[in-house]
Symmetry: none
Subunit: 367 residues, 2 copies
Amino acid sequence: MTDPLRTNRIYQGDSIEVMRSLPSASIDMIFADPPYNMMLGGELLRPDNSRVDGVDDEWDRFESQRAYAEFTRSWLREARRLLKDNGTIWVIGSYHNIYRVGAELQDLGFWTLNDVVWRKANPMPNFKGTRFTNAHETLLWCAKSAEARYTFNYEAMKSLNEGLQMRSDWTLPLCNGKERLKAEDGKKVHPTQKPESLLYRVILSSTHPGDIILDPFFGTGTTGAVAKLLGRQWIGLERDEAYIAAARQRIAQVEPIKDLRLLITPSKKSEPRIPFGTVVERGLLAPGSLLCDSQRRWTAKVRADGTLVATSSHGDHRGSIHQVGAAVQGAPACNGWTFWHIDRPGGAVPIDVLRQQVRAELEACAL
Amino acid sequence: MTDPLRTNRIYQGDSIEVMRSLPSASIDMIFADPPYNMMLGGELLRPDNSRVDGVDDEWDRFESQRAYAEFTRSWLREARRLLKDNGTIWVIGSYHNIYRVGAELQDLGFWTLNDVVWRKANPMPNFKGTRFTNAHETLLWCAKSAEARYTFNYEAMKSLNEGLQMRSDWTLPLCNGKERLKAEDGKKVHPTQKPESLLYRVILSSTHPGDIILDPFFGTGTTGAVAKLLGRQWIGLERDEAYIAAARQRIAQVEPIKDLRLLITPSKKSEPRIPFGTVVERGLLAPGSLLCDSQRRWTAKVRADGTLVATSSHGDHRGSIHQVGAAVQGAPACNGWTFWHIDRPGGAVPIDVLRQQVRAELEACAL
DNA sequence: CAAGGGACTGAATCCAGGC
DNA sequence: GGCCTGGATTCAGTCCCTT
């Protein structure tokens, strides 16, 4: 193609078809949030009988796993053609699709730089208690080859992380509140709008100001909004007219900023909560160990799941260190960390020292 | 095979070959930490044990990627055969191999339950500052099919996390200090020894005491050590004599927890079911008694057969405590045990206390 | 106005056992 | 295997309304 690439605009149409019309080796970075192929079953009710609004949109339905694999290979192949040799691609997904995406990326010759975990601060719980709470999504970050000289703004990431190297796990909240785009009827415009904080990190880490960023599954334009904010060029591909209208309006309101320091929001550092179970799990205290209070009036036995069992004049008790501490004393509440002790040669030591030990180990990973 | 499966031992030899000699549908859970030295100069063996040269030109990279895929498919296929229908498999890996593993798992028909992120508390920094610090590894947890009734000790995980649902991201330290096995020369025995805390969570979450756990890449036996501690049976496959010797010595020193009460976290789902009719039958509630909800918005009358009758704005209702509770509220479902109350001097009391009473009586009987 | 309670919501492969 | 029914199951955060 001889046409110059026109940026800062949305191209309407099927992603793969529009990509085919764009010139090769013209893009610095691609961020892609493709359909996940969730395959949800029937409806899901919360314990209060309200209905979970799942992703059942037409664009997330594929005929088979094979069809999804072919779709993935097709758009990734075009993405590879559009990327400059030193460009990189980000793809976000969940366990439903990210393993297929990762395998196809590697088959096509992409070179993985990192896989990054978006650790959701406030995920939806598992209402039926059937699995671990699905509390993260995965991003893959790849170059076109092992030899590529890709962009990585190491210092920007380090300062964003208060002077420590940015790790491959990012703790960020979901997109909700005022940031979440709502239609006039109050309903969310897009079922899976990504938080801008996520795109900040992606764009800030792997592009320079002025670079051209392509998002082939543009949705309501989070990539475009953050790209404009950060002084990058952007191109969005999207099929849905309603999404496009919302994205245009949203991006028009963005005022680009030049001073990156304004973006660095200090991370909320709070003392990490340490469940007592962690102390047991890490082998600092064996299941079956005996605890006692400082006066040795009561004893309790440690269970494998981090609860205690004890017997007192009030009966048998089972529960957390706090619950059992309160129960044996007949008290309304109790701080189990300072109440319960372990017998050591020099005397009884509160189990809080074990918590301190765990905290010390954890201090290395700040976020 | 007609031989009974002999557990709590290490089988020496090639993983895939030894797996072929074991009986189908005999394993409750598999934990696998397969090799993933794809292009790091380490050796990679094809399924036929021939060696792949680690050269990094395009052709050879393709060869070794394909060889790794074949290796992965081979051992996963055997793993699938060995698993009981309701068994599950855990596989741990990094971005070098886990996407290939995940794709092969799904191709073979495994059903993903969770992907779990091990967030390393103390990862190795990225010395060159060229990427994000690689601070996590990924575990995949799969059942054999979507319909399988797999084991998940929800309550134990919740207790371990001090009353909150366990999430899909686990922050745990690397294996070091006293736990790390060292040879006489002070060098580590195994390059990638996993922390026992990781296996503790894996085993406690997805197996029952007495279950049979297979680790086809046993190494220095972390899986065996934790399995023994937690009262599970184990089988380890390993080729390397030095690893086997270290594992044997290590596991011999583990003292198992014998007391089942310390190992099992009771859950409501596992308690014996009591029909409401039993409560009436035993005279804890007379036919004709009036029940109400906690807000006293609705009332219902107890019939001799343990059903209820009630009238609401939705009409007349007759049926089980659950059905009538749902009907008067116009809700899709209802737990009648906690919804319906009896009027007592101190206030309304849920009929669940009557169920507890019956359970206590039955338990006394059983002893 | 501050504090507190209740409703609502988020990429979700979300039940188990008996007949 | 299909159908029916008992009955178990949620965390963090925002917004609105009441006290």
